[in-house]
Symmetry: C2
Subunit: 653 residues, 2 copies
């Protein structure tokens, strides 16, 4: 972890002599530190980056082979039911899964489809009859599955997808059917090449009545890989990235599956066609089913975080040795990370990446507690988990896209070469912002939930309850008080408590004022669509403010363990506030003079953290082998590029 620093800017006193610093990695690794170390030891030696000039077919074959190896390692088993040979360690498996983001994102997604989505649906939506028959083969990878939810015409509005599963009591079968071209299953990972079975989400119809979306196990290929009768499979072709994953399309022409193909944990059909469910309300049932699949969303957030960390490790280490332009006083060329603008580009992103890493650890723990073996049903906890997962997935994947883009640019032309790994990170993670829930749609979901919880909270606090809330009295009062002078924050903006107050006040204020706008929608004859639509940007801001508070709190809970973490928290908090500083001034929480102090403090913190930049990215513990690329050749102490054989030169024909 030690290194020769190009310029010794390390402030003395940040870690007082005699005080043994907490190992940053211990904090980042969190509860599943042992699992992380295992992955580092077992997989860090593999050279994962594929030949960038491989054909799509070759790349797919490589990734299929890597999935095979992963299955053989026994690691994926650990997330499943111990009764079937699984390890029951949900948190551990999600943690190790996310670490694949340091390696190859196609492998991450392909594994995610097999064990997270297909395996997850089987485990969470199925019952013993499915587990007995398919769970071991799924864990072992001898049964390769795919997750056929998204349709061409219904990507975000899954509740209204159009594929039908119509029960026929005469044969005790379901007929899976694609009634129109927009109901084609689309972008399905694993469908184009490898999957033998699909978890198909379809509208369950029995005796002419629809009961909403349910999942069915539908074989799609025979053992030789040929499509089964009635199943038309096509290929989505080349994508912007993730080309090791075989995304495809499925069209069903009255494909018959037995009654038992229904994954019947939350709804079942008797042989005579009678439908039954433990959850009467169709919408609630639908969201309960989706909720069990939250693991996928959490895993995507984790994978995005790993990719952002890898990009930062590359860009910070490059910036730590790359020199450009001379200092006029000394004539010596300046290391680019010594430039304020370069620090400004990378270090606030690094601070927020730390915050998201810790918030992700917290999320995984919550999921583990709620969904792990032996956990009792906790409806409120599950609801909060889903809300946090949606929010952190949205904010985290956007953060990853922005971070990787910034890192690419910070490495100039070198960052554009495939050999330097950044192009694949960028291309592969790009879709994370719109899959496993489109980020904008997810934040609307978050807004809806926190708004509804807020309404309930207000009702609980106030005896007059909902009536008063609807009349806007409470909301008005909350909003009004935000305008008054005494609330202007006058403390030191570097102080954690001050930052916390600002971040929490913004959440409360946006929520209260959104609630006030929304109550208009309760009026009889109100144009609900127009009211919601007109407030969409407000609702999204409220959701972001909620996530910002959740992430800040998670990081703050560990940041007192090391002075460096404290400064990262301050930089994260201040750059969060700085990004929305106009709002704080507009709503009377900060004076214009204070927001200028925020910007000054961000610059100062960049300078203070700069000497530790290398240490901070090393703490992620990314296997060195997965970072090895010509971009880092400058670290060898000279500017010398690696020796290269003269290239084979192609003559022009």
């Amino acid at each position: 972890m030690t290194e020769a620093r190009p310029t010794d800017l390390r402030p003395t006193g940040l870690r007082p002599t005699g005080l043994r610093p907490t190992d940053l990695r211990t904090v980042l690794d969190g509860r599943w530190a042992a699992v992380r170390d295992e992955v580092r030891a077992e997989m860090g030696g593999l050279k994962l980056d594929p030949d960038p000039d491989a054909s799509t077919e070759e790349y797919r074959a490589q990734i299929a082979e890597a999935v095979r190896m992963l299955a053989d390692s026994g690691r994926p088993h650990r997330g499943f039911d111990p009764a079937y040979g699984g390890g029951g360690d949900v948190g551990g498996v999600v943690t190790s899964f996310a670490m694949l983001g340091y390696g190859d994102l196609s492998l991450l997604v392909k594994a995610g489809v097999q064990w997270g989505l297909f395996g997850g649906a089987l485990q969470a939506l199925g019952t013993a009859r499915h587990h007995d028959r398919y769970l071991r083969d799924t864990m072992d990878g001898t049964l390769l599955g795919c997750f056929a939810m998204t349709e061409t015409g219904h990507g975000s509005d899954v509740q209204h997808l159009r594929t039908t599963a119509t029960y026929d009591p005469a044969t005790q079968e379901f007929e899976i059917h694609t009634p129109e071209p927009g109901a084609r299953k689309d972008y399905i990972g694993g469908a184009a090449r490898d999957a033998r079975m699909a978890a198909v989400f379809a509208q369950l119809v029995t005796d002419g009545t629809g009961h909403g979306v349910h999942a069915f196990l539908v074989p799609i290929r025979d053992e030789d890989g040929a499509a089964l009768p009635g199943v038309t499979i096509s290929d989505c072709g080349v994508k912007a990235g993730l080309n090791g994953v075989d995304n495809g399309r499925l069209v069903f022409d009255r494909v018959r599956v037995p009654r038992e193909a229904l994954l019947n944990r939350f709804g079942d059909v008797a042989p005579d066609g009678t439908y039954s469910s433990s959850i009467d309300n169709e919408t609630r049932r639908f969201f309960t089913m989706l909720g069990t699949l939250v693991r996928g969303r959490i895993s995507v957030a984790g994978g995005a975080g790993s990719a952002a960390e890898k990009a930062l490790a590359l860009a910070v280490r490059y910036g730590n040795t790359r020199r450009q332009f001379a200092n006029p006083a000394t004539g010596e060329e300046v290391v680019v990370l010594d430039y304020l603008v370069h620090q400004r580009k990378l270090l606030p992103l690094l601070a927020t990446t730390y915050a998201l890493h810790v918030a992700q650890n917290d999320l995984v723990e919550r999921m583990h507690e709620l969904q792990g073996a032996g956990a009792e049903a906790d409806e409120a906890g599950q609801r909060e988990l889903e809300t946090r997962a949606a929010g952190i997935k949205a904010i985290g994947t956007w953060h990853a896209t922005r971070t990787i883009q910034t890192c690419r640019e910070a490495c100039g032309g070198a960052g554009y070469l495939a050999e330097n790994l950044l192009p694949a990170l960028k291309a592969d993670t790009d879709v994370f912002t719109t899959f496993e829930g489109d980020n904008t749609v997810l934040l609307q979901l978050v807004a809806k939930t926190i708004l509804s919880d807020y309404g309930k909270g207000v009702a609980r606090l106030d005896l007059l309850g909902k009536a008063r809330f609807a009349a806007g009295i409470v909301a008005d009062a909350v909003v009004e008080r935000t305008g008054v002078r005494p609330l202007i924050e006058r403390g030191d903006v570097r102080d954690t408590a001050v930052q916390r107050r600002l971040i929490a006040a913004r959440e409360q204020h946006l929520l209260a004022s959104a609630a006030q706008r929304m109550r208009k929608a309760l009026a009889p004859g109100a144009d609900q669509f127009a009211i919601f639509n007109g407030a969409q940007d407000h609702l999204l801001a409220a959701a972001r403010a909620y996530v910002d508070r959740v992430v800040f709190d998670a990081f703050a809970a560990v940041a007192d363990r090391d002075p460096l973490l404290g400064r990262l928290l301050a930089l994260h908090g201040l750059s969060t506030i700085e990004a929305d500083r106009a709002w704080f001034v507009e709503h009377g929480y900060l004076t214009a003079a204070r927001t200028k102090a925020v910007t000054g403090a961000v610059n100062a913190l960049c300078g203070e953290l700069r000497p530790h930049a290398r240490e901070l990215v090393d703490a992620f513990g990314i296997p060195e082998n997965w970072l090895d690329c010509p971009l880092l050749d400058g670290e060898r102490g000279t500017a010398e590029p690696r020796t290269e054989a003269p290239a084979e030169l192609s003559a022009v024909g």
Copy 2:
């Protein structure tokens, strides 16, 4: 141009009956409308998008062939000296070049290397001896060249590159040499496969004295494509995008070229080794040489603009037919562009894209007037052109990256498929932000120039001149007055004059306050590096503010020609102000209440422009053939995807 609109939201009265609207395209096409129409007619029929699964070698061969076709068309000739069979139409050729951004960006860059960079250096830095010998072959594409400026160790700091060209009077030759690995020429388009000759930038040394960077014509390959003795060529390999361009690396081992290989317009070496130049100051000479190459930077800005326009055409047309989620009142699914957040994502970007398009037209006209045949030397005009070009290139390419990213996300999973063209747009243009000048470095250049001009301006206005300026009296006064009440803007924020005042005031304020900070650097013993570095973010903000004002003014000059353009200008102006609204409040130009009005006006304008969205993207006049992709299938009136043959299914081995 007419279309069936999904919901008739078109406000009446925006274009009063009886008033024939200006054709939007006429405004966008500008002075070289005829050239644009020619390109549309001649090239629009070609299917330019390459097979996304082609190997790098195949793609390179396709693009080389397309360059051949382009040469045969005679179009590139039009930018060159009429004395050699060129057309002398600099503006026309840059305009038609930028339109390749609607088609294939690899072709754009490869053509740019041949005729813009290599041909441009030959024309602008060479003299009759070079023109006589090479200009026709370069125009015809029978001599393929590359532009060897960038080095591994010196990307941005070109003035200090390390390749040497040492004159030997005994043989009357220059010895071109790579003295260390960091002096390797890197990322050179055309070097890996096709170029026969390089314009090599090297430190000219004669009789032991360096005279700064000059360009030399150095043959690098023989007729069969083999590297010449002493020249080591290697391949940069696969890149994030632009894989139809063969970027490579060049290392020279004491390669000898005749004295006449020096492109000697601005500096020459006599047979005996005596150096002479019309420009005594080495730095000024260097920047004069670079200045003649401004065409490349302007062309990059144009290409980025075209790519952004294409992305917007795709995303707006998709958003205009794609439906998702039902309106609870009607049960009908809502067209996604009817959602406020979707409008918010796309329409401000569309407005700024219009503004940049018009500013680019203006830039090309200025360049044409200054550099066209028969133009007289105009040093001040050239300086302003270079400053505007640097600024518009930086802001325009960042805008393109952001716009294309947003458009990709606005198209969800469909936007991630190569068949829908957005992935290539994104990957190919990504490097535009860091090549032909890294954007951050370019903005620093802009800041330096406007700051120096500001200093001169102040000196001219004030008889006490520089002394007083250095003492900060004038600057202080300018800054001080910005804090006083009467300057708060109270007009209607939708008013063009109000927006102009705000945008111009920010530029002036940032400039004045930056000048004030910088004068500290003039004090004896001042740590210039620390002062400049500490103010870097301030300087970049000043440069951005300058570019914002230039772009706003260019668009404002044409926006009164059509009510739709007027609203686009307002949306552009307001979203520019909104993005930096914290600054306006912090510095007393807007009250918090007024900035809220800005946000409200942006939302309102989105709603007003939404019904015209299709018309606005059609006005770019992008050949329909270059937009054709499955993403737009929804426009056929049904949600039906194009008929697809069942895909060939690969069995797993």
